[in-house]
Structure formats: C-alpha cells, structure tokens
Amino acid sequence: MKIRTMKYMVKEGFINTQRNLLMSLASVSMVIASLLIFGLFLMLIINFSYNLNRLKAQMEIVVFLEPDVTQLEADSIELKIKNDERVLAYVKKTKEQAYAELLQIYLEDAEILEGLSPDFLSPSFTVHLKNVDDSAAFTEEISKLQGVEDVSYPYESLKKLSTVLNWINAGSMVVLTLLLVISVSIIANTIKLTVYARRREIEIMKYVGASDWFIRWPFIIEGVIIGFAGALTSFILTSYLYNSLESYVNSHTLEYGISDLIKLVPLGNVSGQIFIIYAIIGMVMGSVGSVISVRKHLNV
C-alpha cells in the first residue's frame, strides 16, 4: 500500500469516528467496561501469583533428625544436604542449640521446660533451595534417609493456593471471552452505522474498481481508534484505582504487622505490560468488529 493511500485511510477513519460521535462514545465506554472488569481479574491473578511466589521463596524446609540419631548418621545426612546441587544454603542446629532456643522463648516461664533436657530434642537442618519447584522432590528424598524423623514443608497448603490461582485464571478467561463477544458486537453495530451512512460511497467505489481492502481499511481504522481510546481510558482508570488500593492495603498491612506476608505488586512493575495487553485487546476488538460489519456491503 502506498503512503498516500495510508494517509487517506487514516483520515477517513477519523472522519468516520467523528461522524457517529455518540455511538463511538457508546462503544468506547463498552470497551472501557470490558477492560475494567478484565483488569480486575488480571490484577487479581498478578497479585495472587506474585504473593504465592514470594511465599514459596520464603519457605524453608526443616529436616528433623531422630533424637537418638548417631553421629555417623547425622554426618552422612549433613553431607548429603551439603553436596546436593539444589541446595542454596542450610543451617545446622544441634540439640543444645535447639534447647537454648527454647530457653530463650520461655525465659519467663522456665518451669515449663523443667525435666526437659537437650536429649529429648531433635537436631535439625534448615534448608533453603535454589529453586522452590524442587521442594517436593527434595523433601521426598531426604525423608527416606536413615535417621531422619520428619521433614516439614508446607507443601499441601502451597498446592491448594496454586489450585485457587488456576481457578481464578480459568474464571477470568471465561469472563474475558464473554466481554469480548459483547464488545465486538457493539462495536460492529457502531461501525454498521458509518457503513450505512457511506453505502453510496462504497457502492461507487466498487463500481469504479476499488479493491475490498481499500474499502475496508478506513472502517478498520475507525474500529482501532475506538478500541484504543477505550484501552487508554481504562488503563488510566485501572492505574488510578490500583494506586489507591495499593496505598490502602500497604498502610493496613503495616498496621496489622502482616506487611511481610501480603504485598501488592507495585504498579510500576506491571503498568507497561498492562497497557500493552489493554491496547492489544482493545484494538483487536475494534478491528474484528469492523470487518464483521463491512463484510455484507462488499458484495456489490
């Protein structure tokens, strides 16, 4: 396509959008509504997986040895952990250290610990892995070793969280599809009005020998303008709402002292991606809508 022709198409697209300003605005608001609802789900997913990953990274695996473990067994377990390539770092805790810790904790109610000697306690290794995804396999292997009493790893609860995340993912996909279909049909109707207003022009163009794409482009551009306007507006709205939410949540988690546990993704980290996703969805909705509405009028 020639640059001159492209200029013509873009100009016509803008003229079309203005011609049905009211309907264009209606379509834009539909795009905004769809994207905002979609954005709600998107932010939910982003934050959920962000926190899940943070939780996973904080998870430590604690390997408790049997209280009467032999020195040889303990050494061989330590060696095994030390040489495992998946292990990032580990801390060894002897019976005595464990006992000292307990003493610290129950400093004021020392009578609770009466009769308890370090011999009743298990030595343990606290392990951090390089990759959280290896946790299950690592836990499995270590727990089989001679002298290991128990390996604590909050595997089940992580699994449940992952399932919830998957459900939210699936749900948002369904909602998004539904909204897309509705928005596309509303955009298609808007553009149908322009097509109707210009049907004589289209007819003449067909008789003079304009190609289908030549006729189609201005309408596609009209759809893209509508989609992009909607995407931009909903991006601004989403950013604003999310910012307020972020400061609200952050101040309250601080207040309750759980700011380490729950953290919202800072907007700056994801705003670029969100904008691109919005823009793509908006513009695809717009152009699909136009192609649908022009199709019928091309058969002259």
């Binding site: 004589r200 022009e201 003449i204 067909k206 020998g209 304009a210 190609s211």
Partner: protein, 228 residues
Amino acid sequence: MIEFRNVTKLYPNGCIGLQNATFKIEKGEFVFIVGPSGSGKSTLLKLMLREEVPTEGEVYVNEFSIHDMPRREVPYLRRGLGIVFQDFRLLPNKTVYENVAFAMQIVEAQPKDIRRQVPVALALVGLSKKAKVYPNQLSGGEQQRVALARAIVNNPSVLLADEPTGNLDPETSWEIMNLLDEINQRGTTVVVATHEKSIVDQMKKRVFNIERGIIVRDVQEGNYSNED
C-alpha cells in the same frame, strides 16, 4: 471487446434475466440496447460489469472471463470499465472536481496524474467552470455530465450506460447522447441501455432489441424497432 456465448441468467426468484444470448461487440463500437422495462437490458449490463454472474454460458469483457472469475479480480475488471447510471450516483458532500478525482484516488493514481486528468475530463463534458460546485447546485443534465466525466477519467476501454437519460428532459438527453458519441469517437466502446426512441432512430447505431430476456434483433445502423 465484449463477447457473450450462449449466456443465460436466471435469478434466484425464478425470473429470467437473459436467455441464450450470443453476440460480439468489437472495440470502438457504439451499441444501443433497447426494449421494454424488465426485458433484460440491465441484466445484460450487470453481466458485463460482473454485478451478476451468468447461470450458463460464457461472458468475456476485455481480457476477463466473467463466468469463472475470482471475486478478487473484479476491481481490476471494473478499472477498465466506465459506468453511468440513470440516477447519477454522485457524492453529495464532494465538489464536482472531487467527485471526478475520487475515481482516480481509489485506484491509487498518482496525484500529478489526478491534477492533469480531472480538468481534461471536466473540459470534455463542458463543466470546467463548475469544478468547485456541489452536485445539488447542478441541473440533472449537469450532474449526469459529472458522472460521465467520472466514468471516463480513468480512460476505460468500455463505457456502460444504464438509462443515462432516464431522468432528463429531451434536450438534455441529446446533450448526453452527443457526449457519449464523442467519447465513442475517441475510441471507447460504448454500450447504452435506453428507452429514447427518437434518439436511437436518429443516431443510426447498432441496436439490440431485447424482449423477455431474448435478443430478438441485432442490426447495424438500426432504428428503435422494425416498424418503419
């Protein structure tokens, strides 16, 4: 060059548009197609510009075979044709100049060619002075001349006119027919569907008579009918 070989056109509602038509129109000819309303004049023209596809038979226009032509080639067929309608079909929000230039813009002509060709076409139809006027400020005859200018501005080898004088008074009709004749003198093949008996009789061109979809008569330098 236009050729029909045993062409039949049946419409989905059962109407017969054209029955077993066979003829040849050579380059540079001027042909009148006459007959009562609904006899098939428009069908004949629609088949030539591939607004309709023949039910049976073969249609050739320029280098295109209309009967087995993919849709995407239709624009290229039409770029070699000029088309004029009874109701002019001008764009009301464009000036005379813009209406004619539009035909060149949409086939992506060079701007310098547009600036050169449009005034030539307007001069040929005698509307140079009205270039900046909008169609609703023109008389019917003038509007049809604009439509003619638009039809010829891309230098088509064939000009198809469907009742071009149907909305015009006799005097203006003559102007339009004379213009068509002039365009024909310059080498363009012209096919005109019309009811204008007196004009057909006086111009002494080739005449097709169509009745109920059948070409019943094809004479050189003919009259509107056989009666005289």
